[in-house]
């Protein structure tokens, strides 16, 4: 069912994925940007299937995909698998990770995991108005520096920060702003194993996926990525054969 969803999007559309913990206002943000009326409500798990909508910014059309809310991308539940597969293999042009400003610590776990998969990420600190109300001060400048990616503070409900968010999205998509994610460093033995596997994976799969991320998943024994890996391998083998024939 998910494959169908992905293929429904036209080849040359610019795809933006919205990821985030449950109940951080993804659907509200989605509605504000697309003008659609996806039902929102203050309880986690409300977006049970991914909603799609589009918006136009400076004459360019963007397709926005609202992914189900997840706490991690460990693929231990249906929602996590949907979100992870889309970010990794659906290859969106950019992913906006929506974080709840009032509980940033827990939300950052997801952001760090998304950063491992893809580079084109915008971190959106939503519910900033609520954080202010709770006297929480989020230093977005410092956060942006620490993570190595653009950070925009928003309050989707009343439109605060949305103009800035759109600008940053368009810059990341156009390549004018290149996030340099500073990903999590693991224990030396894991890093060593990753370094060893990375070139082999790159050789096998090419640039289609992030070899570091694949290496980590294989090391921890996550086999749920198997069908995707095989698909990419198949395409590569086919292409190689084609080259042989042409030569």
């Amino acid at each position: 069912m998910k494959h169908k969803e992905i293929s429904l999007i036209a080849e040359n559309d610019t795809i933006i994925a919205l990821a985030g913990n449950p109940n951080t206002g993804k659907s509200t943000l989605f509605n504000m940007l697309t003008g659609l009326r996806q039902h929102t409500g203050n309880w986690p798990g409300k977006t049970v299937f991914q909603a799609k909508g589009s918006f136009i910014y400076k004459g360019k059309k963007y397709v926005l995909v609202d992914l189900p809310g997840t706490y991690s991308l460990l693929a231990s539940s249906v929602e996590e698998k949907i979100a992870r597969d889309f970010i990794c293999f659906g290859r969106p042009d950019a992913t906006v990770v929506v974080l709840d400003a009032t509980c940033l610590e827990r939300n950052l776990n997801l952001a760090l995991q998304v950063m491992e998969i893809s580079e084109r990420i915008i971190v959106c600190i939503n519910l900033i108005d609520e954080a202010r109300r709770k006297h929480l001060d989020v230093d977005t400048g410092k956060l942006s520096e620490t993570l190595g990616m653009p950070v925009v503070a928003t309050a989707a409900r009343n439109g605060e920060g949305l103009a800035e968010l759109l600008k940053v999205i368009s810059e990341v998509v156009a390549g004018n702003c290149r996030p340099k994610p500073k990903t999590v460093r693991y224990s030396p033995e894991i890093e060593k194993a990753v370094a060893k596997l990375k070139p082999k994976i790159k050789n096998l799969l090419g640039d289609q996926v992030n070899p570091r991320w694949i290496a980590l998943r294989l090391l921890e024994g996550d086999t749920s990525i198997e069908p995707y890996i095989k698909k990419i391998m198949k395409n590569k083998v086919r292409k190689a054969k084609l080259r042989e024939v042409l030569a």
Binding site: L104, E105, L108, L112, T146, I190, L219, E220
Partner: protein, 465 residues
Amino acid sequence: MNTESLWKDLLKEVDITLPVKQDKIRDNIVKSVYQTAEKIAAETVTLTTEKGIDRERKIDDVLTSRLWGFPIMFGLLLIVFWITIAGANYPSAFLAEKLFWIESRLTEIFIELNAPTWVHGFLVQGVYRVMSWVISVMLPPMAIFFPLFTLLEDAGYLPRVAFNLDRFFKKAGAHGKQALTMSMGFGCNAAGVIACRIIESPRERLIAVLTNVFVPCNGRFPTLIGLSAVFIGGSAALFVKSALATVAVACLVVFGVAVTLIVSRFLSSTLAKGVPSSFTLELPPFRKPQIGQVIVRSMLDRTLFVLTRAVIVAAPAGGIIWIMANISVGGTSALSFCAAWLDPFARHLGLDGFILMAFILGLPANEIVFPILIMGYLQGTALMELESLEALRHLLVDQHGWTWLTALCTMLFSLCHWPCGTTLLTIRREQHSWFWMFMAAVIPTAAGVVLCAIVTYFVRSLGLV
């Protein structure tokens, strides 16, 4: 080289490279991610005051406490229903008056055009009257109930309800999230069934789907509210009357929840055996609801949606009823004939043939059950003008021998009978099974028949009516 061998090679490669066991690596990875997140958060977030966070926790402690959780829930239910019932009276009467005024104008136009009597009968007395009934009876309560409910949802109260009810669902062998899907069922059972997707375990999802119908949807609230208003409170003052009606409806809802739990318990030990799976439910922070947004959205998305559906279904149904009332089978109308045929069985349930027939004809949408019933009673003359509850009372009690037992059984049967056509088709789609769709109709109907029969025989044997 094929992909299978490439994949096997890769896995072998990984195996050689493994520094420690795989599950240890996973723990290690998760730990590193959490530590990094903690460090970054500590560096970038500062709390500029000491108080604030605590207050919310204190509110939650009260809302979800064993002592106060349930009284508060019941209290909120009462407030919501009371505002709905008390507030709907005036706009309802106003709408009825306007719509029936339009009807007389329509009749004049038909006479002016020399239209045949049957055309006028079918279109105006059949189709139009049912539509105006549905609109004037349903629109005001919906327009009040939906925004109120959405406000509670927006503020973050629903997860607290789920939290309170969780242990009961667990005891019933069902999933705690069923409390959420059940709450969605108050709006519309079809929506409630779709919401069951949030329950991952197929067994528990099935239980939630099959029992969703036991909470009254919006299509049934008007019937429950209307009957309570007519039969409960008697000749007391309007304020007292609507207060009593409110309590009655709220009790009925609580009863529906109890039936949900009992049937879930039954299902989890018979058709859907298994142990309940655990889950973490996050209590989201309370948020100030966006009042304007909520009102506009719940009016457009929910109220108009449900109303449109009701009108679309009710219009042809009105026509069919008119035809049935005007075709005669062996001297009586087809409508009376069917009702008479159903009557003996219906009597055992404390109902009568017309009531049961209205439920059957109301299969496409519960919204039209009551209008059909009124039409059945008034056949030939079609639907008369029933602006006031007094007229309704007169029709039911004096002309068709209703007692409070009839009203009670009608309400109970409304709570426990087959889901509407839309919900059934949704169940079929969600469960990919005709069998479970069939069961979704059979289970609540069986419960309703048994329940009504017991109540009827109990009350009659005690000579209470």
